[in-house]
Symmetry: C4
Subunit: 185 residues, 4 copies
């Protein structure tokens, strides 16, 4: 495969813009799962505190999910400048990443509501894992179509690929752990 | 019609920005239609799995609608750089496109909830079709007002116009199919 | 007041960005007021059509409000490039504009639900009017603080100011009409 | 610590973009807490007025929270250009700022619903305070890692640091006031 075969399918800056927009919105929609409790005694701090502690796991899921989305966004910041252009296949893989990021508030809400239900864990981890495989796929497709920046050596490409692969394996392990818990229930 | 008659009505980059923003938000709002189920046995994977499968068609509509919005956005990426400037008529047509894109989460939610109700299909397809006609209109208005990039030949203009027209016809056919189903009910 | 007294309070491009973001989100949130109806016969197009027609005024309000937000955004596109810099007072007036634009989905939902309740009309028009006065204020403050682009002549400044003023008067008239209807009820 | 030790962890413009996006969305989500009342007499302005006045504190919280988010955003506009680059630690502190800004609509809704419940006040102020400490932390970390713009003198650095510190102290005082009210209840 030579470098010139596949043309850029899309403007790099516009895809980056859509990407950042979807992440900003997904991060901010996480908060919608937190409910304002209905109090009978409106001034009672005890009743409000009690009602809020019932949502403890949702608060925890909010923080965890914000960190997850932040990490994914942060890593995309490192990966994206290494792409010289975006081919058609890479657009599709980016849309898989966007679809999972936009889907993540649902996973976060489900995990926050049912943290000890193994199926919530399966869905939560599977969403991140799908994102991860798409990210790894982007890296491999970019190299095969000659879309990586010229200064990236084959050794650097492999190092990054292996790092992404190990992360996907770790997530697959976590997914397996939750799947086993589902099956033994 | 000479090229200089109609001035640019708006900054190209700001309209692009608004366009990308509306699409990013519409894509992310799709997820709000998915409901966190209420479980009686919070740890039961069977009950959660059962509750989620009741939303199967909503999940399917989420994926389908994400692909539709992605495709529309992707094609706008190809069309937009071919406009040399944006005239007043093109601003109006772009707002029709934006209004249908922003309306799409409602169509997606309706289609996800009632996938076998032909009226849901009518509304879903009519929304995409309205977007399609506005997109075709943009292309024709741009040519008539001399707002296409200079390097686009008349033959290229016609090829693209015909392609857009065929797509609108295909969607009109789908709409007719659903309308017949509504009428025969 | 000389041109050099007041420094720019803020980056023009970042305020424009925030402005466009708030408008894109407000436009897209309008759709959240449309409700997916609960059907007893899930496949019945008659029941779905009947349930949707109960929301006719909300659909109408959606379209009207999208046009209003589109018009306000479009006019800001013409006004903003005429500002050479943004002073502190102009930042405050822009935040009034942003607060009313972000508040507009509530007005649109209220007007859609109770279109024949004069108080809905009062709130709807008052929201646009507040935006209008802030926009007029921006224009006047920009001139007084020497923040208009140098090529704008005093005659042009006055023409635009008077045009904005007439629009605010027209909206004030509409507000008065609704207020009278509230009072005579 | 020399200036060259820590490399930039992230593109300045992309972090700014995410920041502005999250703020635009948080500002616009504030409106979702306002509820469209259910009226029995749909045309009655008295009933609508009465129903809306029941949400007075939510309206007040909307305005207050818009001003708070506007102020935080405005100050970030002044702080951010003084950073020459963004280090890893500064990315983390920015994510703390983003998480609190995205969390703010929940605090605003809680404060609007239960304005006289001291615990609402605690949560509202604590959210702003966390943002404030992260902002102060950014300033200090930027100086220590040599990431401030070269023209900022040590005296200027200290003046800004002390101003941020005083603001955090004032917020801590407010938090203490509310905490005392919680404890004496």
């Amino acid at each position: 495969v030579t470098t010139e075969q596949k043309p850029a399918a899309i403007s790099k800056s516009r895809l980056e813009f859509l990407f950042d927009g979807v992440f900003a919105i997904a991060m901010t929609l996480l908060v919608l799962e937190l409910r304002i409790p209905e109090l009978t005694a409106r001034h009672s701090t005890h009743e409000l505190a009690h009602a809020l502690t019932e949502q403890t796991s949702t608060f925890f899921s909010y923080v965890l999910s914000f960190i997850v989305l932040g990490l994914l966004w942060y890593r995309h910041n490192h990966q994206y400048p290494q792409f010289r252009r975006i081919t058609g296949g890479m657009v599709i893989l980016h849309f898989v990443q966007l679809a999972t990021a936009a889907f993540f508030p649902f996973c976060a809400a489900l995990f926050g509501r049912y943290p000890f239900n193994p199926l919530s864990g399966v869905i939560y981890v599977a969403c991140i894992l799908t994102y991860g495989w798409a990210s790894l796929g982007n890296w491999i497709v970019a190299e095969r179509s000659g879309s990586l920046e010229a200064e990236i050596t084959p050794a650097e490409f492999k190092r990054t690929r292996n790092r992404l692969f190990v992360r996907c394996l770790a997530l697959t392990g976590m997914l397996g752990f939750y799947l086993v818990k589902v099956l033994v229930q």
